[in-house]
């Protein structure tokens, strides 16, 4: 399945774009996506943390993705 990923902060600098289209096996989970991202862009492995939000909620590695999900890469936050 094809998923559309949004990137913010340093994640945007790492993928050198605001969005990224990825083709991953249907039913892949968040953990798979993180591995995929880190192998394509090794700089993700250097961050203090890497989280994925799906439909505006943080999701753990075992959360299964669907094609229509809004998927966002969340590098370490630093608001406030």
């Amino acid at each position: 399945m094809k998923i559309e990923i949004l990137a913010f902060g340093i994640a945007k600098d790492i993928i050198k774009n605001r969005t990224l289209s990825l083709d991953i096996p249907a039913g892949s989970n968040v953990g798979f996506l993180k591995n995929e991202l880190t192998s394509r862009f090794p700089d993700f492995g250097k961050l203090k943390s890497l989280a994925i939000a799906v439909n505006e909620e943080y999701q753990a590695d075992d959360f299964n993705l669907s094609e229509k999900d809004e998927v966002v890469i969340i590098p370490p936050v630093s608001g406030g």
Partner: protein, 138 residues
């Protein structure tokens, strides 16, 4: 009552204080962030805040609801800036009114501490000779 705002214009302390004012609250605690002119002795020129807006608002709302529940807060106001901020400008204001003052301090501190951990907002520090996304690397 909870007021959450994420905006690219100057934040107003008085507005936040007025929102939480209540005849039955005995104490209001306010935290106001400020853009510092230095980070570890390096001169900061300005900051840039980027947010994932709908989720940033949703996460700030969650924090306010948790604090309201846990400390019996009457009203909580969280305003956060986005965009470019100069030295001395205000990135965040949190105001909490509770019946008793100890709770107001605890609830306000909980809000700012948790905001910095969970809300999808990113701060880039711009120095004279470069820039860096704050806290991105270990």
């Amino acid at each position: 009552m909870i007021d959450i705002q994420l905006k690219d214009t100057t934040l107003d302390t008085q507005e936040c204080v007025d929102f939480v004012a209540s005849d039955s609250a005995g104490g209001t605690t306010v935290f106001i962030g400020t853009v510092r002119n230095k980070t570890k002795d390096k001169t900061v020129v300005r900051l840039e805040f980027e947010a994932y807006p709908p989720m940033a608002v949703a996460e700030m709302k969650k924090i306010a609801e948790q604090a309201k529940e846990k400390w019996n807060a009457e009203k909580i106001c969280i305003h956060h800036r986005t965009g470019i901020l100069d030295i001395g400008e205000i990135p965040v204001i949190i105001a909490v009114a509770t019946p008793h003052r100890k709770a107001a301090f605890e609830a306000c501190q909980y809000c700012i501490d948790t905001l910095k951990e969970t809300v999808p907002i990113w701060k880039k520090e711009i120095f004279e000779d470069g820039e860096v996304w704050v806290a991105a690397h270990p």
